[in-house]
């Protein structure tokens, strides 16, 4: 945390200094800009490609809390996305990623293939669309915790970064049949996710339908645009083994630089502790919520503050009553379900594009557990060329030994990655 704060302060100072620096001795004339434009390259724009492929190599080091030796990791990832029109009104999407990993840890890292999406989309008219196949069905207005993103549960097979945006991308979609009807100011989407297998399949190249389609489930999502500023989304979700849940997503502008957002879900369910420890427990009403704002400065630094709540997660006294093994079980379950592991938390996120120099982006977040005062922190610096990215990321968990993030065996991890786009 101190490291992130210092880095941000240093960067803020440096940027402010750069902006306040003396102008060049001789300012270019406006007509010089026109001369520059005259000489600008004039090649014709190429149409967008239907596919995107990149290869990423990474080396990293994990430091554990106990006296265990540090774990060195190596990873090679191949990431493919194909999205094309096969015929008028017919579209095919394929999205897949292979992570070939090696480490000297126990257990060692494993190779994993993640079939993220594979579906056909058919538009019989301008106002109707039908999808069939594995689709990354994603809802939610918040950034760090998405109570209405129900299909996120058990969707992660390989985690290469804790960046919430990447976690939403690098996950398995659920196999669905879904249709959407559009009106001028509204839309209704109906999704059916059938039961395909009851248990997850850990095999490296498994389709793993047991993780994404363990039971028959359905989702109705409707939105109506009352005005440019107000466009809420109402959701109803349920299934054979899933009590009906209600959800709401709203976001609005508050001036030129601020977006406020809120996300809420409610419905019956078991507590996280009961799910993690396999306890018999009657389902009770649970509520999950995330609300916050994103502020963007004039120099392209976006800062998000988000309050998070999960009635199904343990509060301080419930957490303190758990033994260390049970705590780890709760954290593992929350990780798999991508649920908030504590009753109340804060999430702060910052992204600064073109920090100090062009093409250098800095991203950071802090998850602050309000129950036991522990923290999960992440920082990434990324420099990008036309076809390549070089990134360095660091993640650290801090807090007392009995706290939420202090119970995670890992203390910190660092990774350097080079990505090349073809």
């Amino acid at each position: 945390m101190r490291f992130i704060t210092c880095s941000l302060c240093l960067a803020l100072y440096w940027n402010a200094s750069a902006q306040a620096a003396d102008p060049p001795a001789e300012l270019p004339d406006e007509l010089d800009a026109l001369s520059l434009a005259d000489k600008a390259p004039t090649e014709t724009a190429q149409p967008a490609q239907n596919w995107r492929v990149f290869v990423e190599g990474a080396i990293g080091r994990n430091e554990l809390r106990d006296a265990a030796p540090r774990v060195n990791t190596q990873r090679l990832s191949i990431d493919l996305r194909f999205d094309a029109r096969l015929a008028p009104g017919l579209r095919a999407v394929l999205s897949d990623r292979v992570d070939l990993a090696h480490s000297n840890g126990v257990p060692p890292a494993e190779n994993v293939n993640t079939l993220r999406e594979a579906y056909l989309s058919w538009a019989p008219g301008d106002h109707q669309v039908i999808d069939l196949g594995r689709v990354n069905v994603r809802n939610g207005a918040a950034m760090g915790f998405n109570p209405t993103d129900w299909f996120k549960e058990n969707a992660l097979r390989s985690v290469v970064t804790p960046d919430p945006a990447v976690l939403r991308e690098n996950r398995q979609g659920t196999v669905v049949l879904q249709g959407q009807q559009l009106w001028r100011s509204g839309a209704l989407t109906a999704t059916f996710s059938p039961e395909l297998a009851r248990a997850p399949d850990p095999d490296a190249f498994a389709l793993d339908a047991g993780a994404t389609n363990p039971s028959n489930r359905w989702l109705l999502a409707g939105s109506y645009k009352f005005s440019n500023a107000v466009n809420p989304q109402l959701l109803i979700y349920g299934g054979a083994d899933t009590p009906t849940q209600l959800g709401l997503n709203v976001s609005a502008l508050a001036g030129d630089a601020v977006v406020v957002f809120g996300e809420f879900s409610a419905g019956k369910g078991r507590s996280l502790v009961a799910q993690a420890l396999g306890l018999a427990e009657t389902e009770s009403q649970q509520q999950r919520a995330a609300a916050g704002l994103t502020y963007t400065t004039g120099f392209n630094l976006s800062f998000t503050a988000e309050a998070q709540y999960n009635s199904a997660a343990p509060d301080r006294s419930q957490w303190d009553a758990l033994d260390p093994v049970a705590r780890l079980g709760v954290l593992t379950t929350a990780d798999a379900l991508q649920d908030l592991p504590v009753r109340r938390a804060w999430f702060f996120h910052a992204t600064w594009k073109d920090l100090l120099l062009r093409r250098l982006d800095l991203s950071a977040f802090v998850r602050l557990d309000s129950e036991t005062d522990s923290r999960d922190q992440w920082l990434e610096a990324r420099y990008h060329w036309d076809h390549a990215d070089l990134s360095v990321q660091w993640q650290g968990f801090s807090g007392d030994s009995g706290s939420v993030f202090g119970s995670i065996p890992q203390r910190q991890a660092v990774e350097v990655a080079l990505r090349y786009y073809f």
Binding site: D83, G140, R184, S223, N231, N300
Partner: protein, 267 residues
């Protein structure tokens, strides 16, 4: 004589009527033209009257060195209610951002990444395209959002370095959904072509200067196919926006909403 006098009277009367008409016409010609009409005529030069598609290429320069390039495919359609344009913007290049989408409807701005299926509302201040604001790359009917005042006529150098006579307009925002608080604009007195514009923040400082140039026949009339944007603080920061592949493109109104973004796959 009388026979002659009659035609003479008639000729005199005709001349008197012609003179009166000419004087009246002259008076009309020299009356101050309506500033809002000038602005609307200038809008009509930039903006096709029907829904259309265009490719926008942005080349960014710092100290004469090219530092960035983006290509966007834009579909724009005027809202029948407000008259303002709504735009669907698809990133074509660079490859890492290809097929990401933006939906702009006034200040209502959504960003969609097909990889994560995430639709995120953006504030006007969040810039995705370097120096150019998200509003710069799409069509805007200035006459709908600004109250124009004619402050005079000036001779100035246009984007082709030719001296032109221009109306100078001072535009004050009347809608909260605008990117710039105040705009100074120069419009060619004879052709209504926009020549130059200076965009100001609410604080009064100059944000950027734009030159409209390379007028070519596109979708029925001469339109600017290049805009050169010069940063207000750093004149060595220049963005060249080029417009190509103009085409009429009819799309349903229902496509201009957040929930359609995951489905949008243009031909």
């Amino acid at each position: 004589m009388s026979e002659l006098a009659h035609p003479m009277k008639s000729t005199f009367a005709l001349r008197a009527v012609a003179l009166a008409l000419w004087l009246g016409l002259a008076a009309t010609t020299h009356a101050a033209p309506d500033a809002q009409d000038i602005l609307a005529a200038s809008d009509a030069v930039r903006n096709p009257a029907r829904p259309f598609a265009v490719t926008v290429t942005l080349l960014e320069f710092r100290n004469t060195r090219q530092t960035d390039a983006n290509t966007l495919a834009v579909i724009s359609k005027a809202d029948p209610g407000s008259g303002q344009y709504r735009s669907l913007i698809r990133i074509v290049a660079p490859q890492r951002d290809a097929n990401k989408l933006m939906l702009k409807n006034g200040n209502d701005l959504w960003f969609f990444d097909p990889a994560s299926q995430a639709s995120i509302r953006l504030s006007p201040q969040q810039r995705l395209l370097g120096q150019a604001s998200n509003g710069d790359v799409v069509t805007v009917n200035l006459a709908k959002d600004y109250k124009a005042e004619l402050t005079g006529e000036e001779e100035l150098t246009d984007g082709e370095r030719v001296m032109r006579r221009a109306y100078k307009l001072d535009l004050a925002a009347v809608s909260p959904d605008v990117t710039y608080h105040r705009v100074e604009m120069w419009v060619n007195t004879t052709s209504s072509w926009p020549i130059k514009a200076r965009f100001f923040a609410e604080s009064g400082h100059l944000l950027k200067t734009a030159y409209y140039r390379k007028f070519q026949p596109q979708l029925g009339r001469e339109r600017p196919t290049e805009v050169v944007i010069i940063d207000g603080l750093d004149p060595a920061w220049v963005t060249v926006m080029r417009y190509s592949d103009y085409a009429w493109r009819e799309v349903p109104d229902a496509w201009f909403q957040r929930d359609y973004l995951p489905r949008f796959k243009p031909e």
